[in-house]
Amino acid sequence: MQILVVDDETDVRDLFQQRFRREIRSGEMSFSFAFSGEEAMTYLRDHHSEVLIILSDINMPGMSGLELLGHVKKEFEMPPTTMVMITAYGDDESYRQAMALGANDFLTKPVDFAVLKEKLAQLIS
């Protein structure tokens, strides 16, 4: 299962690779990373059919996570892409917007990796 992680913090890549070391080694999951909304769109245009789940931060410079969500839902209608939004501000307004735009789930920072693994397992099944 291919998961695209979108966050402007580049260290997120090392963190995810370590947190999901076992899953990556066993081939259960594979991760790709984009460090801005724009980069994520470019990546998706090339690898759209491979990506199953997108995990995206909301507060990023340039294209925000919510804008990305809107673009993804518009441009890649089929097959439906699962999107999980992550934000440091656990405010109701972001949650409402994300859900209105068609997000599948919503997490607040700091991300609890045990919860995230559970959610990913659920989304796969």
């Binding site: 402007d8 913090e9 580049t10 260290d11 090392d14 963190l15 370590q18 947190r19 070391r21 410079p61 440091a88 501000y89 920072k109 700091p110 991300v111 990796f113």
Partner: protein
């Protein structure tokens, strides 16, 4: 007839209680007591806790006066403990409003204390609030001139501050005061202005409707008056305001008494009495019981009349016993004022005599000498007064600077908490995965044979994680360092400085700083330094940091343009120049880098705004520089920029 008149006076008098403790300017009125109590359960900065306690006192004041006093005292104690002057002033005002029922003299004293704090801290809104609160007391004491003078002073400040919500309250209070003194036209004009503004702002109109009802009733428009009272009752119930509910019930009951419909009058009078008793609003209880006594007397029910009469007497005693004392004090105060005025006019007269004497000139050398002596003394006094007010001005200015800084810090705190969250999460996460890695190596001694490849991988992972932890720790440190620089209070010492030297030093430092990170970077550096530049009194450390910051930004901009487009003939160039201008000195830092679009330019002085990648900039540099130049040196920091042409920053300093 006399009885009814005095009743009206009492009834109207009570109207002035209306706007004692006004909610803070921010629209918090809608917050209920419960939600405010919940806010208090959470950990809050002490200053914010003081404000929330005050707001809670405001809310309770409309429902239970004694609870309002309790919260006002809590707010006061906390504000004093943490040395929060503004909060102390706010709390004192709430305390005064709650005490106005039980102890007028103490209430006045507390308001005056709050007023002094408001003036000392240049807190105009609090000043206006206290002027109104004191005005209410003078109107209680039926001192029309003093009462209205305080109200109008409050109104003037509100108008200057454009505090429209408070303007509504002042207008309505002024209307009620005119009503009390039977100036019905003025009363109606002010209430109508208050009503129109309140409707536009969508703020409560329960008191204004009551005031309009009173005017209509006195003008004999009884149907209209009844409509106003009923509207006021409905609105008071909706917002849970027992005081205004009391007024409007009693107003309506008075109206029915006028019509001779005693059953209705008694019915509403009792409701009014009840509302007043629940709230602890003695004056309201007095008005209701006075009315009911008369109703029952008119119906020849002497036992019921007696019951309310005794209630009335108790209230009267409580209120007017102290009011007598107060009036005495007020008289004393007036006496003092009059004495001062007399002294002042005497002084004016003397000055005139002196002029006459000079004109006459020939009266005698002795007299002339005497007059000259006195003149010298006066000059000395004038000089002393001037020096005193100058010192006062200086203190105020210092307080103002510090207050700005604290306000700025407050703004900053939320941003900092958020900025710190990311690096701290990384530290925590990398530490946790490292623990997992170590477990994996050491965890299972009975497991399969050692796997050197896996161990190598794990060790490499551990090393990387430790580096990450250190990096993010460093990131958190620099965020906090930036904040501390902002909050540093004592200004760095100023000294007469040769800005040309400072500019050259800063340029060298900034350029070398960048070269150590990017050895390949070069740029054409041009300095155009005015040879006749005067020495300027600045804090060289602070200003040096500003220059380094601006220069580093300039280098980043040209470097970025070089990397992005690398047009063949692009030559990165940074020019620094100094020049003497009419009122001071200007330092210009110009680059031919990427430039900024308008929307970026508009935000660059905001704290935490950055266009740099995560971890590269804290977003505090320019806001800090702006702070140093403007607040620290009384200068200006200007910026001109055009995309793909370049940017120019100008530091303008007064001589």
């Amino acid at each position: 007839m006399r009885f009814r008149l005095s009743l009206l006076v009492l009834l109207l008098l009570s109207g002035f209680l209306s706007a004692g403790a006004v909610p803070l300017p921010k629209a918090t009125q809608s917050r209920s007591v419960d939600s405010l109590r919940r806010v208090l359960d959470r950990p809050l900065p002490d200053t914010l806790r003081v404000i929330v306690l005050c707001q809670l006192s405001d809310q309770l004041w409309t429902q239970r006066t004694d609870s309002a006093a309790v919260y006002a005292l809590k707010a006061l104690a906390l504000a004093r403990r943490v040395g929060y002057r503004h909060g102390e002033g706010e709390a004192l005002n709430r305390l005064g409003a709650a005490l106005r029922e039980s102890n007028l003299a103490r209430s006045l004293e507390v308001f005056q204390q709050s007023l002094r704090i408001a003036r000392a801290t240049q807190d105009r809104a609090l000043e206006a609030q206290n002027l109104r609160s004191i005005g209410i007391i003078y109107v209680y004491l039926r001192d029309k001139r003093q009462g209205l003078s305080y109200y109008f002073r409050a109104l003037k400040i509100d108008e200057e501050l454009r505090a429209e919500r408070r303007i509504v309250l002042e207008l309505s209070n002024i209307g009620l005061a005119y009503d009390l003194f039977d100036q019905l036209d003025s009363a109606r004009i002010f209430q109508e202005r208050a009503y129109a503004l309140a409707r536009r702002l969508r703020t409560p109109t329960n008191y204004i409707l009551y005031g309009l009802g009173n005017v209509a009733r006195k003008e004999g428009k009884l149907d209209e008056a009844a409509v106003f009272y009923r509207k006021s009752i409905a609105e008071s119930k909706k917002v849970g305001h027992l005081r205004s509910l009391n007024f409007s019930y009693v107003g309506l009951a008075t109206l029915y008494q006028q019509l001779g419909r005693l059953d209705s009058s008694i019915y509403y009078g009792r409701l009014g009495c009840q509302a007043g008793q629940t709230n602890g609003f003695l004056r309201g209880v007095l008005n209701a019981s006075t009315l009911l006594t008369k109703d029952f007397k008119m119906r020849d029910q002497s036992d019921s009349a007696l019951r309310y009469q005794s209630l009335m007497l108790v209230m009267k005693d409580t209120l007017f016993g102290q009011e007598k004392v107060m009036r005495l004090q007020s008289l004393n105060y007036l006496e003092q004022q009059r004495a001062q005025q007399a002294a002042a006019s005497q002084a004016a007269l003397k000055t005139r005599y002196r002029t006459y004497a000079l004109v006459a000139g020939l009266v005698g050398l002795l007299l002339l000498a005497l007059l000259l002596g006195r003149h010298a003394r006066q000059q000395q006094r004038a000089k002393e007064a001037l020096e005193e007010s100058l010192a006062e001005l200086k203190t105020t200015q210092e307080q103002l600077v510090q207050r700005e800084k604290m306000a700025f810090l407050g703004e900053l705190t939320a941003g900092i908490a958020h900025e710190l969250q990311n690096p701290l999460n990384f530290v925590k996460n990398f530490a946790e995965v490292s623990t997992d890695l170590v477990d994996e190596i050491t965890g299972d001694p009975t497991g399969p044979a050692r796997n050197p490849d896996l161990e190598q991988e794990i060790l490499a992972g551990l090393k990387q994680n430790l580096q990450k932890i250190s990096q993010h720790g460093q990131r958190a440190t620099s965020i906090i360092k930036g904040m501390l620089e902002h909050s540093r209070t004592g200004a760095s010492p100023r000294q007469a400085t040769n800005l040309n030297t400072l500019v050259e030093d800063s340029l060298r430092l900034a350029y070398q700083g960048l070269r150590t990170k990017d050895k390949a970077f070069t740029a054409q550096l041009t300095t155009v330094l005015a040879p006749d530049l005067p020495l300027v009194s600045v804090a060289p450390m602070d200003l040096g940091r500003v220059l380094i910051n601006l220069l580093t930004n300039a280098f980043h901009a040209v470097r970025q343009r070089q990397h992005e487009e690398s047009p063949a003939d692009y030559q990165p160039e940074v020019t620094v120049s100094t020049r003497a201008v009419a009122n001071g000195v200007e330092i210009s830092i110009r680059d031919n880098g990427t430039g900024m679009p308008e929307q970026v330019k508009a935000r660059i002085f905001q704290p935490f705004f950055t266009t740099k990648a995560v971890g590269e900039g804290t977003g505090l540099g320019l806001s800090l520089s702006h702070d140093v130049v403007t607040t620290g040196h009384g200068g200006r920091l200007l910026v001109e920029s055009e995309v793909n042409v370049g940017t120019e920053f100008i530091v303008a300093l007064p001589a």
